[in-house]
Symmetry: C2
Subunit: 347 residues, 2 copies
């Protein structure tokens, strides 16, 4: 029996249509057991677009948190929002996971508040899977922790390791630390301390990498602070979009270009799907007691369905539990920063 997943029907730029359509796809194609959370009437109306409508439960939530609302304000003022209600369902064990394409900050804050972190994880991290020339790479953190310390980077590495093994099926995944040069001594203080801490960990740490290595397939997991990771993610998306736009612009500006593009239509379709960052499905908030997947605000039905798939696999593979066990197994000294100055024996 599939695990039960709450889907925030009100989250994203095309809510409730896309989340509802994604839930319908997941129910049909994956046999997923879905709870749609949000305003009952618009959800029912969106469900009626799909016949025969699969058997999907609705849990009503009156309020909707806007995409640009401050998470702190939303937390205080909109206690009946779909994100609140979904997080509460997860906390109470009524569902095994939640999926939202809504306000990322609000989802993170409420998941952390209601669901909490597993033991050994100080700060859950948002992770994404990016395509590389050889396969896929897990990048984390991409926005949950903008100012982590070195022991958090090690925890990110452990979480990325288990995500890569359990969800992507990579054996003994390579873990790299994102910096601006491969030398251990290069980069900020955080990078230098993080490098030393990762070196002491039992992870398959390959050292510092540069951002061009993310896409070459040189590593399976890339660890960084949430500010840098968010910049990498948004820069990548922007370059992909700009390049697709310019390609279209060039091909449509001449008759020969148009003709060539028509002939090679199938190649272009495959190409677009290979560079489509949304196709993977969503970013799991790793380290949470439970499975919470955050999808892009612009998610299509297919992206939502893939987000639901990730949430189910995450639960089935017991990723949270495995991370918790692994962190318990790590010797304390491996996760604690070296003291800035070691005091000598007391006089």
């Amino acid at each position: 029996m599939s695990l039960r997943i709450a889907v925030d029907a009100m989250g994203g730029d095309h809510a409730p249509e896309h989340p509802v359509a994604g839930a319908v796809l997941a129910a049909r194609e994956l046999g997923a057991d879905i709870v749609l959370v949000g305003q009952r009437e618009p959800i029912e109306s969106a469900l009626r677009q799909h016949t025969p409508a699969p058997d999907v439960e609705i849990v009503h939530a009156e309020e909707v948190i806007g995409m640009d609302e401050s998470p702190a304000t939303a937390l205080r003022r909109k206690r009946g929002s779909s994100i609140h209600v979904a997080a509460q369902l997860l906390r109470n064990g009524e569902v095994s996971g939640m999926v939202s394409a809504g306000n990322t900050g609000a989802v993170m804050v409420m998941a952390k508040l209601y669901v909490g972190s597993i033991e050994g994880v100080d700060r859950p991290a948002l992770s994404v899977v990016l395509p590389t020339l050889l396969g896929h790479v897990v990048l984390l953190d991409v926005g949950a922790n903008i100012d982590p310390r070195s022991q958090h980077l090690v925890q990110f590495g452990v979480m990325g390791h288990f995500f890569a093994t359990q969800i992507l099926g990579v054996k003994n995944p390579k873990v790299g630390l994102l910096s601006i040069g491969q030398e251990a001594g290069k980069g900020t203080d955080l990078i230098r301390e993080g490098h030393a801490a990762l070196r002491r960990s039992p992870l398959n740490f390959i050292g510092n990498i540069e951002s061009n290595d993310i896409y070459s397939g040189a590593t399976d997991v890339v660890v960084c602070d949430g500010f840098t990771g968010n910049v990498v993610l948004k820069t990548s998306e922007a370059v992909v979009e700009t390049m697709l736009y310019l390609l279209r612009d060039e091909l449509t500006s001449t008759r020969r270009g148009k003709l060539g593009a028509r002939l090679a239509r199938e190649s272009f379709r495959n190409y677009r799907s290979r560079v489509d960052y949304a196709s993977w499905g969503g970013a799991p908030l790793l380290g949470l007691k439970g499975s919470c997947v955050i999808c892009h605000g612009r998610s299509s039905a297919k992206a939502i369905k893939n987000g639901i798939r990730v949430a189910i696999e995450y639960g089935e593979q017991r990723v949270s539990e495995r991370i918790e066990e692994a962190l318990r197994g790590l010797a304390d000294e491996q996760l604690v920063e070296a003291p800035a100055d070691s005091p000598g024996p007391s006089a």
Copy 2:
């Protein structure tokens, strides 16, 4: 009469061939007055590939700094290197600018040491020009200062402003601060303090931007710390290369794809040149007393020629002098950080 430019003939992955070929192109097409710096024999041999060889002076430098050598070691041990000699020519006023595709760290260290910063600039910044949907954007710092303070971000803004006006011809350029959200309160401490300091400056500051705004043309200048800027630059290059590779892979995998690609050949050629980050020429080290342009290690002859063009324009437009005047005009309080805690009146 064109300004005299020293070109590091030994710098880059294809030295001395590409730097020499770039210098020849610049002499022919721009009428540039070039001094090639490096080992005389290989340079003369490379020059003989070009007939008729233009009148280019050679200044011999015995040693070559490797692309991966530590700048600190190179500074101490290789005092006769082409980078040293070029920086000394610039310091002594024998040339007006220098161009190198060599070891970036070594060029920065030696330019700062021998040539020095202009008054008002604490730390020169490496800047690049990137293509956007609407034109170009200046991004700085991309690697010279990985841990700046907020007043340095304002100086980067001033330098970017003058680069955009004098070299790119933009009137009253918009300056944005790179963060992970548009809200002034979002981001690291540096971002919050930098935002406040830029707000107080006379720059046309449009506030915080996200990295997708870099390529949309929303701003003319993007200010960030050198770690983040370097990550943006390398991520962008990596995504461009990955996308070109995948496009080629798809188009060559079927007969229709190959045929379509052949028909649209000209469109693809234009496309490649529009997304070619190397085509702009090089990254000037802004804030230096003199013009120093650092080119990509993989620079083609055309890229070197464009780097030489930037170095000439930089000098002709008196960019350094204008930055110096502007910084002198800024009131002190606009450039100084607010104290972390304001002490009350003494008891």
